[in-house]
Amino acid sequence: MLIRRGLLAALLLFVAAHARAFTVDELIAKNIEAKGGLDKIRAIRTLRTSGQMRVGGGGFSLDLAYTMMAQRPAMIRTEASIQGLTAVTAYDGSIGWQLQPFQGRRDPDKMSADDMKGLKLSADMEGPLVDYKAKGHKIDYLGTEDVDGTAAHKLKISLKEGDIRYVYLDPDYFLEIRIVDQIKIRGVEIEQETDLGDYEQVNGVYLPFSIESGPKGGPKGQKITIVKAEANVDLNDALFHFPAAPAAVSK
């Protein structure tokens, strides 16, 4: 199927040197199709990915074991472990919280509405492009822009809650290759750039197995490599809720 799409893209490129202009809805349809189609995307109710997170760069870096769990409609939990200590960030649809154990503290802390914005955005498992109108987002197509040598389609998502996300789609396969978030934290805009790659199919849906993030335009100081991804595993809701007692660490 992908090869067929590749053929279509190749023919388009061959016939016309410049890609024709797309509409927002055409691009989103292509993106959804490239991932595997809406049915398959919606068929994933929960997702658990695990792998490694490398933080830093150059002469120093830290390797942490990484796990992400997500569950519809809008629950997410990420864990990063080193030396038997596990940092947790989670959101259960209303409360965002975190646990930072590296200096001896085992109690979870609630996050402010601004601090949990990124987490909340990630909790939308299918991403903001799917059903964006129903979700209250507004999307504009801004043409193509160079992403490290690739002329990617650039979509601007004006999120319902007021922040901005730019999504860059690969011009041949229409999958996301870069995301730039502009999120206001206490009135100050924070820009974060995430590169996505190493797409692999999970339950018929292409997901990025490489997620590299950093400040916009700067080095990607956090590199997540997914080794294992499982869809529709049973996840206990308690994993996402703010723990009454110190949080249990999942396997």
Binding site: F60, D63, G84, L85, F102, G104, R106, D148, D198
Partner: protein, 1079 residues
């Protein structure tokens, strides 16, 4: 036939996708040609080292109060638009993706601060100004821009938006500086920029619009100023050719939004008679009856009208008011006080009495001001731009904060030395000469730059004969030899002979001989050479220029106001290059179009420019470059922008100048007039061209060129390029964005057409060294700039023909014995990719405790040797060797390094043993607690189990800190002591200290003690407990088995390390268990 070729072509393209597609797709035949473009080379990356200490010229400032904070847009003369949402604490460049970076005007829509207009092309028309390409608009606060036309405007001085209708915008276009043009005057749009009308134009093709003002009450009432001006390579005029000559300049009034205009009568109603030069006019925002005009004329002065422009009265005409009108011609009236006026000038001058008198506002700013914003809510809060950058004052300009976060410095040239790390040397427009670090722990802060000499800076070099000295110059060839310790600067400029005048260019060339250490050249119209640090100069040429007297009338330059600052000095030598192959061969280029060469050290000279077919006469020779590889080969770049021709002209000769071929021009995709052509130090076909709009690279002697855009390198003027030969770094002098470094260009040397056709391949790199990891950096707040350092790891470079999108791609590092050391995430972009490996083995396995053990989160760096990088991309596997060596600066040798590594690995192993012990304790406790829980409370076996559990927990608490809660507990146990020792050993890669080795022994002893204690306790207690458990049919307690001491995923065994050393040394090496014993 047609069908067959079509199918073949489609197949080729399809296969190119298939190779990156998943599901078992096979690699296939590559297409026959790969377009050599920016995407291929830009993955090399680049880093900006600044500096923002001296910053650069700001041409325009716009600001507004939004959400209680000050939104600022700073328009750099040649470094783009910088936006701050926080009043200047932080800035980000928002215009970099547009094709030009010279800014003339910025306007924020008064009805919507998200809408901002930028007019490109600076209007402060000094000799070094850049060239714009029209007007831009952003509707989202500078995130995205649309080009809104006025393509041929070249420069725009002001943009005014109707506050009652955002679609109505006026653009004041002075227009082309160097040539006639009809595309100048005052333009108006009524549809938000979709279409423009030229509503006021001059009476000749050199007259454009210098200023506009709109009645603050009635937006249709406008005044506009027309300005007649022209610059040539050798002269300049503001107004007519001379003070009394006819000029197109004039002042105009419209009452109907520009439909009709009436020229305000010169010489009447209090205004001076014509001719005029540059004019500026502004309404007082708080009183539309009060209008101020600055008029450059035979009696230049400020004029004020109190009746909306009907009648005028002459006010101040001090030197600060009339000085250099082409460069200083803006009036800013306090929006709350019609009698307070600022005029940016050499100083920022201010009047509190309606223009009757002015004084310098004061403070320690740079000077040469161009624009100012006054906060309408607090008029004491002002933000201004001058030749030294952006300045913020909270007391009306009496005292200033410098924005130390704008790296918009305008270098003319750059050179390097051979220190390690090397330093860069360069001079800047109106900002002296500076020497900066290419690398410094914690980042290259503004304070890592050292200022020498003064004035406008140009060429600068370390003295290769004595590194305590540097050569530097200021405008007009004022060269000095500067002592970097005592900071004295000895003037060594060659002097004229009897009845003679030397002509030194504004940007006078200084050249260091590549053959004779310490021999230095400088060019006037004659070429001078010194072999004794400027103690004496030999004149080694006749006048090498055309010596055209028509181009030597600088004392009459300026138009209405004479302005002879050496900026127009012409018929001079501009570029010098001694052949690295033969010191007798010297090439010289002149600003008036001669290419001269001598083959006998200056005795005889030949002008070969006539041999360059197709090159227009008198073209400014911006660069001559003798080849490093062949004495008959040379390159020359010509800059014709002073004739209005913005195309690059770059030529090569391979026969000593007899014939030339054009190797770079618009046909090859280059944009902007050429400043420099540079040949690589290793590969003759690797060439670099710097133009007014960027850097272009060719890997095939000029057949194909690709623009370099890596590391977010903007489309800024590249005026000089130098290669640091030891580190193979390409160092760029940009005129507007400081110094940039492309680290290690070795990969470009291995790029060929064949390689570009491959799916993927490793590219060569410079030898890898384990740079000493210095510590540095301290908080300076957010309002500062620091330059990036080169990566401190081993940089691995590879090429991919297409972006990697599907399936895993990874890089594994194998030790000298082929065993896995580390796996690192691979980069995925198209073209050149770079990743950095820390060169560390995996960190030790550390027992769980209350807090993280920070030092032991890292493994020690591997020892020197030949390692392998293996790239796995789908089913394809590629390998390359990494030859890792010690830092050149290391004061320790390889044996010392081995001792350090061994000591660290011994501690590493101890952590592993400790983890095993703690795992055993925890495992035993879990089993004991679980069994106890299954027994009745009063059962004696339950008590025995509980007792056993608590006794082994006591042992665990001797090993690791266990107090939780997040406070600074200060609790240190064996694990924490070992972590401290490990950190100490890791802090220095030479031989560990004796006391550190003893400490290892002591802690090993302590670890042995607790191990023995646990073993003794279990030996003594468990048999009876297990008997009891057995009697009850419960499973026995068995401590978990010994675990491997290192993380399995990327561990190095002792055998691995021994093999690595053996391979590196070329002899058998056996690491002893006690590293204090010599092997």
């Amino acid at each position: 036939m047609r069908d067959t070729s079509l199918i073949a072509a489609i197949s080729a393209v399809i296969f190119s996708f298939v190779t990156s597609a998943p599901a078992g797709a096979e690699a296939a035949t590559a297409p026959t040609a790969v377009h050599f473009d920016a995407g291929i080379i830009s993955g090399l990356g680049a880093r900006n080292i600044g500096s923002a200490r001296m910053s650069g010229r700001i041409a325009a400032v716009a600001a507004a109060t939004v959400d209680g904070k000050t939104l600022v847009y700073a328009g750099a003369a040649s470094g783009g638009v910088w936006k701050s949402n926080d009043g200047g604490t932080t800035f980000k460049p928002v215009f970099d993706k547009n094709p030009v970076q010279t800014i003339g005007a910025i306007a924020i829509d008064p009805s919507n601060p998200k809408v901002v207009w930028v007019g490109t092309g600076e209007c402060w028309t000094r000799n070094s100004v850049s060239v714009g390409d029209g007007i831009y608009k952003s509707a989202d606060g500078g995130e995205t821009w649309s080009h809104m036309g006025l393509d041929a405007s070249e420069r725009i001085s002001e943009i005014v938006i109707n506050p009652k209708n955002s679609d109505v915008v006026y653009a004041c276009v002075p227009g082309k500086l160097w040539s006639d043009s009809a595309d100048r005057g005052l333009y108006k749009t009524v549809d938000g920029g979709k279409t423009w009308s030229l509503i006021l134009k001059g009476k000749n093709l050199s007259t454009g619009c210098s200023a506009i003002t709109m009645d603050p009450q009635s937006p249709d009432l406008l005044y506009a100023c027309l300005w007649d001006f022209r610059r040539k390579g050798w002269t300049y005029r503001s107004g007519g050719e001379g003070p009394q000559d006819e000029s197109g300049s004039g002042l105009y009034r419209s009452e109907d939004g520009g439909k009709s205009w009436i020229e305000v009568d010169a010489g009447k109603n209090g205004l001076p008679p014509k001719p005029y030069g540059r004019i500026e006019i502004k309404f007082a925002p708080s009183n539309n009856k009060i209008v101020y005009a600055f008029i450059e004329g035979t009696d230049s002065a400020l004029y004020r009208s109190d009746d909306g422009g009907k009648t005028w009265e002459q006010r101040d005409k001090s030197q600060g008011m009339v000085w250099r009108a082409f460069y200083f011609a803006r009036l800013i009236i306090d929006p709350t006080n019609p009698d307070r006026i600022y005029k940016p000038d050499f100083d920022l001058i201010v009047s509190e009495d309606g223009g009757k008198s002015f004084s310098s506002s004061g403070g320690g700013a740079h000077g040469d001001w161009h624009d100012l914003w006054i906060n309408p809510q607090n008029p004491k809060h002002v933000i201004g731009g001058d030749d030294g950058g952006l300045w913020i004052s909270y007391d009306g300009g009496s005292r200033w904060w410098q924005a130390m976060n704008l790296p918009i410095s305008q270098f003319y040239h750059v050179s390097i030395d051979d220190r390690d790390p090397y330093q860069v040397y360069g001079g800047l427009q109106d900002n002296s000469t500076w020497i900066g670090d290419s690398e410094y722990p914690g980042g290259i802060t503004n304070s890592r730059w050292e200022n020498i000499l003064g004035g406008d800076g140009f060429w600068a070099f370390t003295d290769p004969a004595d590194p305590d000295y540097a050569y530097a110059e200021f405008q007009g060839g004022s060269i000095s030899r500067c002592n970097r310790k005592t900071h004295d600067a000895r003037d060594i400029q060659p002097r004229a002979g009897y009845n003679e005048k030397l002509r030194f260019n504004w940007n006078t060339p200084i050249h260091m001989s590549p053959n004779e250490k310490g021999t230095i050249y400088i060019g006037a119209q004659f070429l001078f050479r010194s072999r004794d640090h400027g103690q004496s100069w030999e004149r080694i040429s006749p006048d090498l220029t055309t010596n055209d007297p028509e181009k030597q009338k600088q004392e009459q330059s300026g138009g209405i106001t004479v302005d002879n600052s050496s900026a127009e000095t012409h018929t001079t030598i501009y570029s010098i290059s001694e052949s690295p192959k033969d010191g007798q061969v010297i090439w010289v280029g002149t600003d008036d179009g001669n290419v001269q060469v001598t083959r006998d050290g200056g005795t005889t000279w030949t002008n070969v420019v006539g041999n360059i077919k197709g090159l227009p006469k008198s073209s400014w020779v911006s660069w001559v470059e003798a080849s490093r590889f062949d004495v008959a080969t040379a390159y020359a770049a010509f800059d014709r922008h002073t004739f209005g021709d913005m195309a690059p002209y770059v030529y090569k000769t391979a026969d000593g100048g007899k014939t030339w071929s054009r190797i770079a021009g618009p046909d090859q995709g280059l944009r902007g007039y050429a400043h420099v052509i540079k040949e690589d130090t290793i590969k003759p076909d690797l060439l670099f061209v710097g133009t007014e709009y960027g850097l272009w690279v060719s890997i095939d002697g000029g057949r194909q060129w690709a623009e370099f855009t890596g590391g977010n390198f903007p489309k800024v003027a590249v005026r000089d390029i130098v290669i640091q030969p030891r580190d193979n770094d390409l160092v760029l002098a940009t005129h507007g964005r400081g110094i940039w470094i492309i680290d290690d260009i070795t990969p470009l040397r291995t790029m060929t057409d064949d390689l570009l056709r491959k799916d993927a391949a490793f590219l060569d790199s410079r030898p890898i060294t384990q740079r000493i990891l210095g510590s540095g950096g301290w908080a300076e707040g957010d309002a500062t700039f620091y330059g990036e350092n080169p990566p401190s790891g081993a940089v691995i470079t590879y090429y991919q023909r297409t972006r990697h999108l599907f399936g895993p791609i990874k890089i594994e590092i194998l030790g000298p014995d082929g065993k896995l050391v580390d796996t690192i995430p691979a980069s995925k972009r198209r073209g050149i990719n770079r990743v950095s490996w820390s060169m560390r083995v995996a960190p030790p396995l550390v027992p769980n405790a209350a807090q993280i053990a920070f030092s032991s989160s890292q493994g020690p760096r591997v020892i020197s040797g030949i390692y392998t990088a293996r790239l796995t991309k789908g089913k394809e596997v590629f390998e390359t060797k990494l030859n890792i060596g010690l830092d050149r600066r290391a004061t320790y040798n390889l044996d010392d390094r081995k001792a350090q590594f061994d000591a660290a690995m011994r501690v590493h192993d101890m952590f592993g043993a400790m983890s095993s012990l703690v795992d055993k304790i925890i495992g035993s406790r879990m089993m004991a607690d679980q069994s106890a829980a299954n027994l009745p409370e009063k059962d004696t076996l339950r008590k025995d189990l509980e007792g056993f559990s608590s006794r082994i927990e006591v042992i665990r608490k001797k090993i690791v800190a266990t107090k939780e809660g997040g406070a600074i507990t200060g609790e240190e146990r064996l694990r924490e002591h070992l972590d401290q020792l490990y950190g100490a050993i890791m802090s220095y890669e030479g031989r560990p200290a004796q006391y550190q080795m003893k400490s290892i022994d002591a802690l090993q002893h302590e670890l042995d003690d607790v191990n023995k204690e646990f073993s003794a306790l279990t030996a003594k207690t468990l048999p009876a407990i297990n008997e009891g458990l057995k009697a009850k049919g419960l499973p026995p307690i068995a401590p978990p088995p010994e675990m491997p001491h290192m993380q399995a995923s990327s561990s190095l065994s002792s055998a691995d390390i021994n093999a690595a050393f053996s391979a590196f040394l070329g002899r058998f090496y056996q690491r002893s268990l006690n590293v204090m014993e010599k092997d």
